[in-house]
């Protein structure tokens, strides 16, 4: 019997004001049961106030071997950080 339930990724908002964060995965036949399983599996101790479940197959991920071309260009652009700029100490609120 190979009608294995699809995999879902579970995201939890731990408290109001914070983003949802990845917690793990569950297998479930549909979205409704995925939510229930996520609740039973990942929030038995008040870990969250809100849950997202997303079919794992729907997630598009970057390729780790392309990490260099993707992320390294930002390395040389240090002028994107406030510490790049020199201003006299005597000048306030900058």
């Amino acid at each position: 019997m190979s009608n294995e339930w699809p995999l879902w990724e579970v995201f939890i908002r731990t408290k109001g004001g914070l983003s949802h964060r990845h917690a793990g995965s569950v297998r479930a036949p549909d979205a409704e049961l995925a939510l229930r399983h996520a609740r039973d599996t990942y929030t038995r101790r008040l870990e969250g106030v809100s849950l997202w479940v997303v079919p794992s197959a729907q997630i598009v991920a970057s390729d780790p071997s392309q990490g260099g071309p993707l992320f390294e260009p930002a390395e040389s652009k240090i002028y994107r950080h406030p510490t790049f700029y020199h201003v006299p100490d005597s000048v306030k609120h900058l």
């Binding site: 339930w5 569950v26 036949p29």
Partner: protein, 334 residues
């Protein structure tokens, strides 16, 4: 236990990875990352032998959590009070959760949950030997929480820094949940040890029966663990079996003393020079027999597990049929 190779032969990672002709620059980069304590994530390149070792270890760990529910689940209906029942139910539910986190972590390596579960039910997969011992009295539930979960914690805490990201993250979650397991067990032992003479005797008897199997949970001695060095180098394992076992004895003996119970080892004695306890010989032939499935209740455990799975089949089928029907109705409406 969970990092224990339950096979006597060394696996052949070195020779095999050569046969698989893995590009040397990838292997070198991987080894360097692991040596620098970086985490390896599912889509990163990894040697096939690293992947295989992890699949075996994580699935074995997951199976241990799942089978581990059985000896205790046995006592939920017979817990002596509503409080104890609620606590035991919560603990057993946690163990089920641990199994699920771990199956999910193993699945990121390309194995399927179905495959793992089928292997378990077919008797092809291993799980911790400790769960093939029977739970005869309520004191056994105390001894399991105190000793078995205690040993599990000792094994799992270092795994929070294991090199494979999804496994490490699952361990962080598991470790957060484990400490109540051990404390509730110790509390049961305290209640029994301070109860009637009969209750104290039950507590002592449980300690007598669970002590040696708990020490075996850490796996064979280091000189008989041929794969330890490789696993340590890959940061899949962070301490050796003997190191963890010694640490367990060192922290647990004073706890037994606090309970007023005696550890069933006439050779046990504290060595002032080393600051460690010395303890007697472990009967490894018993361990290997249990690994081979000759534990006192091994068959009972597996048949209980398969029965639960089979009896739940209609629920899984109904849920899948419902999902298919909803999906079809939604498509028709579009």
């Amino acid at each position: 236990m969970y990092t224990t190779e339950l096979q006597k032969q060394p696996s052949r990672p070195v020779a095999e990875s050569k046969a698989e002709k893995e590009p040397q620059e990838l292997v070198d980069a991987f080894e360097a990352r692991v040596a620098a304590d970086e985490f390896i994530e599912p889509k990163d390149w990894m040697p096939a032998a690293y992947r295989r070792t992890l699949v075996r270890q994580i699935s074995q760990h997951a199976h241990s959590e799942i089978v581990g529910m059985l000896p205790e689940g046995n006592w939920i209906c017979r817990a002596p009070s509503l409080r104890r029942k609620a606590v035991l139910l919560a603990k057993v539910q946690d163990e089920g959760g641990h199994g699920l986190y771990l199956y999910a972590a193993a699945e990121t390596l390309g194995t399927s949950r179905e495959e793992m579960i089928e292997a378990l039910h077919a008797g092809k997969a291993k799980y911790s030997t400790i769960f093939n011992y029977p739970t005869l009295t309520w004191a056994d539930i105390g001894a399991i929480g105190w000793l078995v979960d205690g040993a599990a914690i000792m094994n799992q805490v270092p795994l929070q820094r294991t090199s494979y990201g999804p496994y490490a993250r699952a361990m962080v979650r598991v470790c957060k949940e484990e400490s109540f397991h051990q404390r509730q067990g110790f509390e049961i032992m305290m209640a029994m040890a301070n109860g009637t003479p009969e209750q104290k005797e039950m507590a002592q008897d449980a300690l007598n029966r669970w002590w040696w199997p708990s020490l075996m949970m850490f796996g064979p001695p280091d000189d008989e663990s041929p794969n330890t060095a490789q696993s340590m180098r890959w940061r899949i394992k962070r301490d050796t079996n003997d190191e963890l076992r010694q640490h367990f004895v060192d922290v647990t003996v004073p706890q037994a003393e606090a309970l007023g119970l005696s550890v069933p080892d006439p050779k046990l004695k504290f060595n002032d020079k080393t600051g460690h306890y010395e303890f007697g010989e472990i009967d490894w032939s018993e361990f290997w027999n249990v690994v081979k499935g000759e534990g006192p209740v091994a068959k009972e455990r597996m048949s209980a597990r398969v029965k639960a799975w089979d009896e739940g089949a209609w629920v899984r089928d109904a849920a899948a049929a419902h999902a298919a029907k909803q999906h079809a109705a939604k498509q028709a409406a579009e």
